[in-house]
C-alpha cells in the first residue's frame, strides 16, 4: 500500500500550478513590475540546494569541486534574494494612496 512520494510531489506540483495561475491573474496590473521582481526573489529559494551542496562531506575537504559549485550557487542566489526583495520593497513603498 506504500505510495511513491513522487506521486505526492507531482500532486503538489500540479496543484501549485493551479494556485499560481489564479494568484497571478489576481495581481493588479499596476503591480506587474513588482511581481516580476518578487518572483525573481522567491525563485532563488534554489539556495536550499546550494547550501546542501556546499555543506556536503566532511569538514576537512570542504573545497571539493561540488562544494565550490555550492558556494558559487549561494553567492548568486543571495544576490537575487537580497536584491529581489529589497528592490520590491523599494518599489512597493512608493505606491501611495491620495491623502484625503
Amino acid at each position: 500500500m506504500e505510495i511513491d512520494p513522487f506521486i505526492f510531489r507531482l500532486s503538489i506540483f500540479i496543484l501549485s500550478i493551479f494556485v499560481g495561475y489564479y494568484v497571478v491573474w489576481s495581481v493588479t496590473p499596476s503591480l506587474h513590475t513588482p511581481l516580476m521582481s518578487v518572483t525573481n526573489a522567491i525563485s532563488s529559494v534554489i539556495i536550499v540546494g546550494a547550501i546542501i551542496a556546499s555543506l556536503a562531506g566532511a569538514s576537512e575537504n570542504i573545497f571539493e569541486t561540488s562544494n565550490i559549485f555550492g558556494f558559487l550557487g549561494i553567492i548568486l542566489a543571495a544576490v537575487n534574494i537580497f536584491g529581489g526583495f529589497l528592490v520590491t520593497q523599494r518599489m512597493l513603498q512608493m505606491y501611495k494612496k491620495k491623502k484625503k
Binding site: 503538489i12 513588482p34 516580476m36 521582481s37 529559494v45 534554489i46 512608493m94
Partner: protein, 464 residues
C-alpha cells in the same frame, strides 16, 4: 531536525510564497505580501541549515558567501534607478538560472549528499530531473545575459538574424534531448558537461534574433523557464518549497508573457521567432511624411490645459526615457491648483515592461488611485478636454481599430482622439516601438509639442 519537521517547514515556506504573490492583488496588501515572502525565504534557509546539521567550517563559509552575495544584492537594489528595472530583472534572472545549473552540477558530482544514490549510479528519476533542471537553467542564464546586454544597450538591440537560424536551434534542441537520454544510460560526466555547454549556446542563439524592444516578453518567458527549472531541481531535492515556488514562478512568467503578447496583439511565436518590425515600416513612412502637422509650444499647452475642466495624462515609453515623471507630477499639481480634474490613463503595454508606467508614477508620488487602466478610463476621453500624451505613441494609434492590414490591428488602444484636443509630447514625428506612423499627429485637434518630454513638461510648469 527530522525529515518530517523540515518537510512541514518547507511547506509553510511555500505557502508564505503564495501569500507573497497574493498580497500583490492590491497596493495596500502588497508590502505585507513582501514580508511574507521574506519570512518564507528565511524559514527555508534556516530549516536547510538545521536539517543538514553540519555546523563546522563549511557553515562559516556558507554564512560568509551569503553575506557577500547579500550585500551585493542590497547594494544593487538601493542604487538601481527605477527606469532600469527591465535590465535589473533580466540580470537577476540570469543569476537564478546559473544558480540552478550549479546546484544541478553539485548534485551530479556528489549525489550522496542529496540522497540520490552514488556517483555512477544515480537514481534514474533524479538524473532526468537534474539534467532537465541544468539544461533549462543554462538556457535561462545565457538567454537572460543577452537580454540584459540588449536592454542595457551594451549590445545593439537590433535582431541578429542569419539563414537557417531556427533550424540550428531545432538541431541543438534535439541534441539536448539525446544527451539527456544517453546520460541516463551511461551516467557519464562528459555527457553531462556537454549538455550544460550546449544549453548555454542554445540560450544565446534563441535570444539574439529577438529585437531589443521585445525583450520584456523574453524576460518573462525566461522567468517562466527559471520557474520550471527550479521545480525540476525541487523534485531532485525532494523539496516542497522549491516545487511550489517553481510552479508559481513558472505560471507567473507564462501569464505575464501572455498578457504582453495580448496587449500587443501578437502571437507568442511571432515574438519568439524574432526579427519583427523591421520589414514594412519604410513604405509607411514615405507616403505620409509630407502631411502638415500643427506645431505648438509650452505656452500654448499651458493655456489649453489651464482652461480645461478635465485633463487625462497618457504616459508612454518616452516618459521613462526622459525621466519626466517628477516634472509631470509638478505639472499636474499646478493644474489641480487651477481646479482642473486630472487623471492618468495607463495602457497595459505602455512603456517597455508590464506595470512600467505605474512604478515610475508611484516613484514621483502620484497616488495610485488617480491612475487608471485602459478599460476603466477609455470611455472618459469623450468627456475630456485635453489628452496630454507624453512619450506615448503606439498605445494611442487608432490604426489598431481601423486598418486590418496594420500589424497592430486588434490591439486595444486608448481613445485619445475622442477628447477635445490632444497634445503630443515627443521629439519628432518618428514612430514608436511598432514602427508604424500615427495618424493622430495630422489631425485637426492635435497639437504636437516637439521636445524632450522632461524639458517640455518643465516649461509648461513655468508657464502655468
Amino acid at each position: 531536525m527530522s525529515a518530517n519537521l523540515s518537510a512541514l517547514f518547507y511547506l509553510i515556506s511555500g505557502i508564505l510564497f503564495i501569500l507573497a504573490l497574493r498580497g500583490l492583488s492590491s497596493p495596500e496588501t502588497s508590502r505585507q505580501g513582501n514580508y511574507f515572502g521574506i519570512a518564507g525565504m528565511v524559514i527555508a534557509i534556516v530549516v536547510t541549515f538545521l536539517s543538514v546539521g553540519n555546523f563546522g567550517t563549511g557553515f562559516i563559509y556558507v554564512l560568509i558567501f551569503l553575506i557577500i552575495g547579500g550585500s551585493m544584492g542590497a547594494f544593487i537594489a538601493f542604487r538601481i534607478p527605477m527606469t532600469a528595472m527591465p535590465e535589473l530583472v533580466a540580470g537577476f534572472h540570469s543569476l537564478v538560472g546559473l544558480a540552478a545549473v550549479f546546484v544541478a552540477i553539485s548534485a551530479f558530482l556528489k549525489p550522496e549528499a542529496f540522497g540520490l544514490g552514488i556517483i555512477g549510479n544515480i537514481k534514474l528519476a533524479s538524473l532526468i530531473e537534474m539534467s532537465l533542471g541544468a539544461a533549462i537553467g543554462a538556457v535561462t542564464f545565457s538567454g537572460s545575459i543577452i537580454a540584459f546586454l540588449k536592454l542595457r544597450g551594451i549590445m545593439s538591440g537590433a535582431p541578429i538574424t542569419f539563414k537557417g537560424q531556427h533550424f540550428i536551434n531545432l538541431i541543438l534542441g534535439i541534441i539536448i534531448i539525446f544527451l539527456i537520454y544517453y546520460l541516463c544510460k551511461s551516467q557519464s560526466s562528459n555527457i553531462f558537461w556537454s549538455l550544460v555547454v550546449i544549453s548555454f549556446i542554445l540560450g544565446v542563439l534563441l535570444i539574439i534574433p529577438i529585437g531589443g524592444a521585445d525583450m520584456p516578453v523574453v524576460i518573462s518567458m525566461l522567468n517562466s523557464y527559471s520557474g520550471w527549472a527550479a521545480a525540476g531541481i525541487g523534485f531532485t531535492l525532494e523539496n516542497t518549497a522549491l516545487i511550489i515556488t517553481g510552479a508559481l514562478v513558472g505560471s507567473s512568467g507564462a501569464i505575464l508573457s501572455y498578457i504582453m503578447c495580448k496587449g500587443m496583439n501578437r502571437s507568442f511565436f511571432n515574438v519568439i521567432l524574432g526579427g519583427w518590425g523591421a520589414t514594412d515600416q519604410a513604405s509607411n513612412l514615405q507616403s505620409k511624411e509630407k502631411k502638415p502637422v500643427k506645431n505648438g509650444n509650452a505656452d500654448d499647452a499651458a493655456f489649453l490645459m489651464k482652461n480645461a475642466s478635465s485633463v487625462i495624462i497618457v504616459p508612454g515609453y518616452g516618459m521613462a526615457v526622459a525621466q519626466a515623471q517628477h516634472a509631470l507630477r509638478e505639472m499636474v499639481d499646478a493644474l489641480k491648483k487651477n481646479g482642473v480634474k486630472v487623471s492618468y490613463a495607463i495602457h497595459p503595454v505602455a512603456g517597455r515592461m508590464p506595470g512600467h508606467m505605474n512604478v515610475l508614477l508611484a516613484e514621483a508620488n502620484v497616488p495610485y488611485d488617480e491612475v487608471f487602466e485602459l478599460e476603466e478610463i477609455n470611455n472618459d476621453f469623450a468627456n475630456c478636454d485635453v489628452a496630454y500624451v507624453i512619450g506615448a505613441n503606439d498605445v494611442t494609434n487608432p490604426v489598431a481599430k481601423s486598418d486590418p492590414q496594420s500589424p497592430i490591428y486588434g490591439m486595444p488602444v486608448l481613445d485619445v482622439e475622442k477628447s477635445k484636443s490632444v497634445l503630443f509630447v515627443k521629439r519628432s514625428l518618428s514612430p514608436g516601438y511598432a514602427g508604424i506612423d500615427n495618424d493622430l499627429f495630422y489631425r485637426d485637434n492635435t497639437l504636437m509639442l516637439f521636445a524632450d518630454a522632461k524639458k517640455m513638461t518643465e516649461e509648461i510648469v513655468k508657464s502655468l
